[in-house]
Every structure is written in structure tokens, then in C-alpha cells.
Symmetry: C2
């Protein structure tokens, strides 16, 4: 009988207190008794990370990121220790591993690092003598031996990257049961989806559905690792995310996503200047600012450019532009906050006409102005004012019967 | 100008809150500005370790030690992060290093591991680009890549071992200014000593003076590393611990130490049986129980043995004896708690007569019964009832004018 291996991930709210950690321990024991071997990736308990950040706030307004990453990783290290103590108490053969012990190699900025490599042989060797490997999410070690944290959605990325390295399925547990056609807090009639494709899920998370970070889905897609998104210790059915080839019935539209906290920048310059654009985007990249949607118009008035960014520090943007104006004095720019992006997503969209015009008419009929539009193979996105976000989601869900 | 390198250690009460950490940061900055390079070893903040142990108490009565060590080391990791953030904010070039990052290799039990080796080249390399290396005390990594904690007094050992590896002097800061002739809480008239020899200090700590763990002093002695024991951020003078050759005026008696929480075991067996003794001491060793004083009498009644131990779990002792009685049914034993050991210490003792008899007469004159006696080159120790401990210290201090 071949032992099945799976990777499970429990987020911060799932391990928020010691009772929850014990319950997870019992659940894992049952699965081991059912002849499974498990990698269990955990986040820091509940508000641990917030408390650590609050402490740091007393020491420095702009704390050094190398040391901040070193501090934050203690949160996950504590969770793996607690869960391993519980499992050991339950008689389960368990090994707790921090990021570096699990062979998770990272690269890039200390607080936004990326997984470069996972040494699968480290995990396989530990499976020779243990049934459960509890691994600290959100962290790894870089080529200089410094402990780093992964960017947003870090623990999900840890879980999916390990699943890919082991060619095992990945189960991600949170306090929400799976993926909905839209955020139920925005539209209570939203439906849970049984299955979505990697591509749809990537659009949904990149567009702010917030269930699973794009990077995690991207890794799963590249390695063809199915992901199950479920509610922690619940019988409620969750959502499978898998290759679109495996999904029989494709809908034109599966979901509507709302991405909050978008900033909207417009700039104008009396002439088209390649150097200006080059320098702008180099500076944005150096500041690790992800530009989302870009529109550009060049005419006799010169250059008009607008772009959106998510979760950006406006001070940082202003700093970048101050530097730029030093070199290009006739540059005029404007940063606006409080925009949102509404997206309609569906793998079937490319095969069915009429989706774009239906979205357009729906917004028009409800007097919702939009500022940027982008389309991809499986999505259409509109930037609208913050106050129109919820209305747009509701009306689009109704229009597409989600 | 050659930069001076020193190792400094700040204990848990010295870094108990963020204000204290900031003050230490400012102090270190001044020293760096004075052209020094520093290794700074820190413990977990205040009650952090206690809180973690309390949490574990909710999960397991006898938590797995590998995972417990992994948990506890997060305390020191947090302190190094905070202190490094403060120093960075102050413009000091600083690198924070956990035990494994500082190249501290350990061996033995996870919760009582010993430092096997320190990679001085790791620290030297970091000194090429940083002036302060903040190192997590009390921890290291073993040959299997598991994170371990050192035994009692662990952070002191870390500091002294690093100082030895770098051949630098070591300064250990606590909330007490140096070494006293006896514990001032027991005898308020106790005097602070300017200097003590390694040998005296080893007796004092092994005998419970509690200022500095024996192991640290032993390492310092082996490498001839002077240790300064001082009060954190205070102008009060502390105590230098150094080779006895460097100490000009030797006193017959420098100190009186009181070692609390001694257990006293007596056993009898109808005949002298080598196997019984062998098995007893093997079991004690396996349980990591340090036997202190031993007396043995063999006569026509058979074997009488008594020994003392410090800080031992009586249940564990009873377990060991239960196992032993299974094999040697006529073994009779008795464990008593609440004994203390009073010791009189002084390098000059070996050259001056009359110390032993003076101690003996002092105890006799105050009706203090004793149960075990041992003497070494520079100390005499008596086990007495707990309630006589303070009286013995007071009277001995008066007798020797300490």
C-alpha cells in the first residue's frame, strides 16, 4: 500500500488559539492513521505578527527590513513548535522545521523575498522517519544566510511551492469555505464554486478576490498541482483549483472581483520622451511598486500617461516623482487614492461573445463612471471610484446570475 | 589605530522593555564611536521565556524537548531583532545573528546542549562590514541541523564562548553590580569584591552564588579570558574575574555561598553490590541528574550510600528507584527535599590553616546540624536543613569578616 502524501496549509485565524491548534492536531492524527504522510504549513498565530509590528513601531518609524524579517519569522516558528508539541503528545511522529531547516531558499528583498528553490530531498529524508512535517510558512533563507519573509500571501506560496517540489496535492484551509463568485461580504447571494481553473483563479486573486495570492496559483499551474481551498475543520465543501482541461462545463463568467485600495496616477509631459518613461519605470521597479493598468496617449499636446497601482504608499510615489521632476522640470503629475478595480472573470469568455458589452451596459445603466479598462483572455477590468465599487459588484453579479 | 573588540552580554532583566533596549543601543553607539567593535549577546526579554513555557503547559504536561527548544529560541531571536532595529536607527552598522547564523554548533540534549564549536571566521567576516554583531544567546544548532538551547546560564556561556573564540574580553551585565562575598539578600552587609580568581568564581557559582554559571567561568579559565561582571548601564564598579596569578593579595576566605533546593537521598542495601551502584549511576546519568556530594559506607550491615542533587524532580528520582528496586528488591531508599548547601570559598584557604575548624566551630556554636561535608582545595561545603541556611551564612560571614 502506497502512502499518500499531501501538503496542508492552515492560516493565522485557523491557529489563532491553543484550542484550535489542538483540534488541528487531532485532525492530522486521524489522517495519519488513515495512512497518509503530511506536510503541514502554518502561519503565525492570530494577531502575533501585528503585535510584533506594533512593538517595532516603538523603536523605529522605518525599521530595517532585514531585522524586521528576522523578527516576524519568530511568529511561524512558535506555531510550528506548538503544533509539533501537540502532535508529539498525541503520539504522532512529527518533525518541526523552520523555513531554512525545510530547505526553502529565497532571493530578493528581505520582506518581499521569492522562493528560489526548495530542497525536496530534505523533506523526503524527514519523511523516512516522520509522518508529519510541520513547516513554518512565509519564510526562508537567502544566499547570504539571512532569514527572509516572502511577500504577500507568503504561507500559501510556501505550501504550494512545497507541494510542487513533492508533486503532491495542496490543501489550503482558511475561515472561508472555498472560492465564491464574488466576495460574499459585498454580495451575500454569492455562490460557492466547486471548481475553477488556475487561470480564472489567477485573475481572481490578482484582481483582489483575496482568497489566494496569484503567485501561489501560478506555481501550482506551472507544476500542475491541484489546490483545494476549504474551511478549516469543517464538513462544508470547498473549491478545487485545477487545470482548465479537467473542467468539463465552462461558464462564460465565473466570478466578479473587487480590488480595493487602488491609486490612480496621471502625468503629462509636453513631448514624448523615451528617457522620461524609462526612468519612471526603473524608479518604480526599484521601489518595488507594481504598476497594474497602464494607458498612454501621444499626440500634438505631448505625452499623457495614466496607471494604477495597488496598496501603494503615496509618499513613496511623491518621492519618486520629486526625483523625476528634478530631471524633467516640465513634468506634471497627479496621484489619486480611493479607487477600486472591478473585474469580471471567466474561462469561457473567450469563446462567448457579448460579455464585454454586457459589462459596459451594466455600468452605464447605473451611472458608474470608469477611468481605465483592460481586458485579458479571461477577464475585463474597470477602475471606478471607491464609492461605486459595491454597486458595480452587485449589478454585475445580477447581470451574470452569479 | 587598532580597533578593540569586546564581547558584551545583557541578561533578560537588562532588556526587559523597549526603553531599556533603546538605552543599551545608545550605550553601544557611544562605544562604537570610541572605536570599538562589539559582539553583543542578549537573552530573551524579561518574562518572555516564562510566557512561552506557560503556553506550552496548556498543550502538554511533558512537552517534547526538541520542539520546546525550537520554541524558546524565538525569545532571543526577537531581542536581537529589536536591538538591531534600534542600532540601525541610530546609524550603527549592525548585524543580527541567531545562534546558527553566528556559527554556534552544539551537541547533546536539545534543552541542555553544550557548545561544541564556534566558527570564529563567521564573526570575523561579519566584522569586516559591521561594528556591532548582535547574537542570540542560549542557542545553537546541532549536527542534525536542529535548533537547541544551552543548559542553565546559557546566554553567559554563549558570551564567554564567543569571547574565547575571538580572544576578546567579556563583559557580563546584569542587575547586580559584580560578585559579593555572599548573597546580599541573605546578608545585607555583604561586600562587593573587586576581583576574584576563576577558581573561586567556579566554586561560588557551582555552589549557588548564582551570579555566573560554572560552565562559563570554566571556558573563560581555559582560554584565559578575563570576565567583567557589572551592573547594566551603571557607573557602579563591578568585579573582574581573572587568573589567580594576576591577583596580588589573596584572602583566606573570599565568599560564602548558599545553594538552595538540594535533595538528599540515602539508600541501604544488605551487601556491597557493584552492579547496583553501576546501574544506579547509569540511570542517574541517563536522566541527566547531576549528583553533587556522595558519601559511602560499607560495613557488616552492607552498603550505606547518601548523595545530594540540586533542582531535581523528586518524581524522576522515585521513578529511577522504582526501576532499580525491580532488579534489587531489598534496596531501601529515602529522598528528602528542602536541604541547602553552605560553602566557604577562598583561594588562600590552601595556604592558611584553621579555616576548616573555624567553619566547624561556627556551625556547632549555633546548633546547626549538617549531613554531608565535602572539601576541595579552595572550599568547604556543608549540607544543612533549609531553615538553618540563612543563619549559617550570616554567622560564617561574621566569623570571616566578609
Amino acid at each position: 500500500m502506497v502512502t499518500k502524501r499531501s501538503v496542508l496549509k492552515f492560516g493565522g485565524t485557523s491557529v489563532a488559539d491553543f484550542e484550535k491548534i489542538k483540534n488541528i492536531g487531532n485532525y492530522l492524527k486521524d489522517r495519519v492513521n488513515n495512512d497518509e504522510q503530511l506536510v503541514v504549513v502554518v502561519s503565525a498565530m492570530g494577531k502575533t505578527t501585528d503585535v510584533l509590528l506594533e512593538n517595532v513601531g516603538m523603536l523605529s518609524a522605518k525599521p530595517n527590513e532585514e531585522n524586521l524579517a528576522l523578527l516576524l519569522t519568530t511568529g511561524e516558528q512558535q506555531t510550528i513548535s506548538y503544533l509539533a508539541i501537540v502532535l508529539h503528545e498525541l503520539g504522532v511522529s512529527v518533525k518541526a522545521l523552520t523555513g531554512f531547516q525545510a530547505g526553502i531558499k529565497t532571493m530578493g528583498h528581505h520582506m518581499k523575498s521569492k522562493i528560489q528553490d526548495i530542497e525536496a530531498e530534505v523533506l523526503n529524508r524527514n519523511f523516512e522517519s516522520h509522518d508529519v512535517l510541520v513547516v513554518a510558512g512565509f519564510q526562508g533563507i537567502n544566499e547570504r544566510g539571512e532569514i527572509t519573509t516572502l511577500g504577500r500571501g507568503g504561507s500559501d506560496t510556501t505550501a504550494v511551492a512545497i507541494a510542487s517540489a513533492l508533486a503532491a496535492p495542496c490543501e489550503i484551509y482558511t475561515d472561508v469555505a472555498g472560492v465564491y463568485s464574488t466576495d460574499p461580504r459585498l454580495y451575500p447571494a454569492a455562490k460557492r464554486l466547486d471548481v475553477v481553473s488556475f487561470e480564472e483563479m489567477m485573475e481572481m486573486s490578482a484582481l483582489g478576490a483575496g482568497v489566494l495570492e496569484t503567485r501561489s496559483v501560478e506555481i501550482a499551474k506551472n507544476y500542475n498541482i491541484p489546490i483545494y481551498l476549504g474551511k478549516t475543520l469543517s464538513d462544508e465543501k470547498g473549491t478545487w483549483i485545477m487545470p482548465k482541461e479537467n473542467i468539463l462545463e465552462k461558464k462564460a463568467v465565473t466570478g466578479v472581483a473587487l480590488d480595493k485600495d487602488m491609486n490612480y496616477v496621471t502625468l503629462s509631459y509636453p513631448m514624448y520622451d523615451r528617457n522620461l518613461l524609462e526612468e519612471l519605470f526603473i524608479r518604480l521597479e526599484q521601489g518595488e511598486i507594481n504598476v497594474d493598468m497602464i494607458s498612454q496617449i501621444v499626440n500634438s499636446d505631448g505625452l499623457q500617461l495614466s496607471f494604477t497601482m495597488k496598496d501603494t504608499d503615496v509618499n513613496q510615489i511623491n518621492e519618486i516623482f520629486s526625483g523625476l521632476i528634478g530631471r524633467f522640470p516640465s513634468l506634471v503629475y497627479n496621484v489619486e487614492e480611493n479607487y477600486v478595480k472591478v473585474s469580471v472573470i471567466g474561462s469561457g469568455m473567450r469563446d462567448m461573445s457579448g460579455v464585454a458589452s454586457k459589462v459596459f451596459m451594466t455600468l452605464l445603466n447605473h451611472n458608474i463612471n470608469f477611468y481605465q479598462v483592460t481586458t485579458s483572455e479571461i477577464s475585463i477590468s474597470y477602475v471606478v471610484n471607491h464609492e461605486n465599487g459595491q454597486l458595480a459588484v452587485e449589478q454585475l453579479c445580477q447581470a451574470f446570475e452569479l
